[in-house]
């Protein structure tokens, strides 16, 4: 059963076609990778799914509801969460609070309840703190709960972004270059972690990644973008030997030596 269906989606910035008529179907519970050289349009593709940009053409469908025309916060409420290539944390607040923001859409506290600190609001806030702490434990950042997010190491910041996304209880999780800037050991841990996350939480994952070892190891399905176009799609083994893909990454000369 497919959870996300992107059909014929297109986005233009001025004269540049960043994403051109791309289709993608994501199976529920699967791990899908989106790969391609820098500037291929991968991040733009994510931005189109999450409502940061509106597509010029085409459709995005989550379950049975179309996402086109919805604002990012509405799409988040339908069950998509994401991380960002250039980390976007709430830098000046604590690690725990960062995760708590992920829980916000489940919290009901309003102005009056907050002003009078009703029992319900206090309870809810306490539960939210506990749940946020749980997610920190899950990604291994529990001991940093009171630190400012900006003081975490690079790898820890990436994990915090994942914790924040998980806290929002997504059905679909989009990871934009989660291993960027990580050393081989961290990358290996991340690979295991992504697997574990999918199995524990029953969440569907789509990730953009340059680390081919990680991609080949982890993904069940891969789509390849180049200059905004989808040039290949298939299982890791198929992509590995695809001529067009090798061309896109290494240039034409790699395939047909002069």
């Amino acid at each position: 059963m497919s959870i996300l269906t992107v059909s014929n989606i297109k986005k233009q910035f001025g004269g540049l076609v960043a994403v051109n008529s791309v289709d993608m179907t994501v199976e529920k519970g699967s791990i899908t990778a989106v790969i391609g050289p820098n500037g291929a349009g991968k991040t733009t593709f994510f931005n189109l799914i999450t409502g940061v940009y509106q597509p010029d053409e085409g459709n995005v469908q989550l379950g049975s509801s179309s996402l086109v025309g919805l604002k990012p916060h509405e799409i988040s409420r339908l069950g998509i969460a994401r991380t960002f290539q250039n980390i976007r944390l709430f830098s000046n607040i604590t690690v725990l609070e960062n995760v708590m923001v992920g829980l916000h859409k489940q919290l009901k506290a309003g102005i009056v309840g907050t002003l009078f600190q009703t029992k319900k609001v206090r309870e809810e806030e306490l539960r939210a703190q506990e749940e946020a702490y749980h997610w920190l434990e899950y990604v291994g950042l529990a001991q940093h709960l009171n630190e400012e997010a900006q003081n975490l190491s690079y790898g820890a910041q990436r994990r915090l972004e994942i914790a924040r996304a998980l806290a929002s209880k997504p059905r679909l999780l989009l990871l934009d270059e989660p291993a960027a800037g990580m050393n081989p050991r961290e990358t290996r841990e991340l690979t295991e972690f992504i697997h574990r996350m999918r199995d524990d939480l029953n969440v569907t994952i789509v990730l953009i990644e340059h680390d081919m070892k990680l991609v080949m190891e982890i993904s069940e399905h891969i789509i390849v973008l180049d200059h905004g176009e989808k040039i290949a799609e298939g299982k890791p083994a198929e992509i590995r030997n695809n001529v067009k893909v090798i061309e896109a990454y290494l240039g034409k000369s790699a395939v047909t030596p002069a």
């Binding site: 379950g63 990012p72 916060h73 830098s91 607040i93 506990e130 709960l145 059905r171």
Partner: protein, 429 residues
Amino acid sequence: MQRLTSKLKGNKLAQIILLVLYVLVTSLSLYLAQASVTAFLLLLVSLLLLYYTELPDRLKWVIAGVVLVGVIPFVASTGPSYQSYMEVATVVGIYVAMALGLNIVVGLAGLLDLGFVAFFAIGAYTYGIFATAQAANFMPFGVFPLSGDSFWIFILIGCFVAALFGVLLGIPVLRVKGDYLAIVTLGFGEIIRIVFNNLDKPVNITNGAMGLASVKPPEIFGFQFVYPNQFYFIVLAILLFVILAVRRFEFSKIGRSWKAVRENEIAAQSMGIHLVRTKLLAFAIGASFSGMMGVVFAAKQTFVDPTSFTLLESITILVMVILGGMGSVPGVILGAAVITILNLQVLTEVTNYLNQLSLNGVISFPEALSPAKMQRFIFGAILIIFAIYRPQGLIPAKNPVFDEESLKEGSENHRKKQIKVESDKGFQA
């Protein structure tokens, strides 16, 4: 000195004793040496010292209450400058509330608002129009001026009207960001002032540049509030509410949403935060504090005209927030107090002193250079110095500290629940 502070650290009893001594000495000197501004200021500083003690919060509140409600009004009451001290204290209270309101907008939600005084004006005019005969010009029914008894309801009305205007302003304004937002709010502040200045025709609503005179003083059970020492208590009560409200908002879902929007709009949205609603709420709540104090201001001055609500006022409130520390409640309170006292007391005192010297022929000091006229220069200098050397302000904002042990226990339950919930979660659509 260092030895002294290290000894004091952790010794609560010594802290209390020293604080009480300090309050006693300053009170006594204020009580005996009548018109001593210094003693009055030093007495106010005791509240700052109190903030830095390590006493439990509850005790701090009680002590602050005793000093503000009992000690200050009492020891100041004997001298000829009683009313002028209470006037200063009252105005400080008004500005503190406004600065706390602006702090929500600028400090917590990160929206630079250069027209904040507009909401103060709206509050002041709301009461001013109905507590003078002015309302009779356009109201088809009712007898105006309303009696001073209505003041108490008007505090609420001023609060809501200002909040409403906060939302009305926000809807068009929040489409722009950063520098543009600052310019647009600046424009809004001026527009409001100019509208009040010109709304005397075709229907005379605000009485234009003439202003509204003889605003009814507040009244309760036949008792009228006319003197600063009486308004002092009204302001104190509202201020208590404002501080309580700000602290509760700050560490709630609402406050966290503001901070999230301030830190990163795209991330906040992608976590499900409704950007426009969150910003509007900041505008509305910030404005509402100003609106309430506007009502008090109109009643205290018994006169409202557009000249009280210039751009300089908006800038002054912003300076209070920046000086004190953006997003920091104690900081903003301190900033507002420092700037107000600088304005009302220090600059005028220094000017008087210099004039005295000129009169006696000690120095010849040109009128044009009198410190009272250099307000803008001084604010400008403060802004620059703080922007460069201490951008986090006098008392930087602090993040909450969570107790790891208690959270550890609580998170156990979530772990057990999580697996179950996640596995039977189907499509909502």
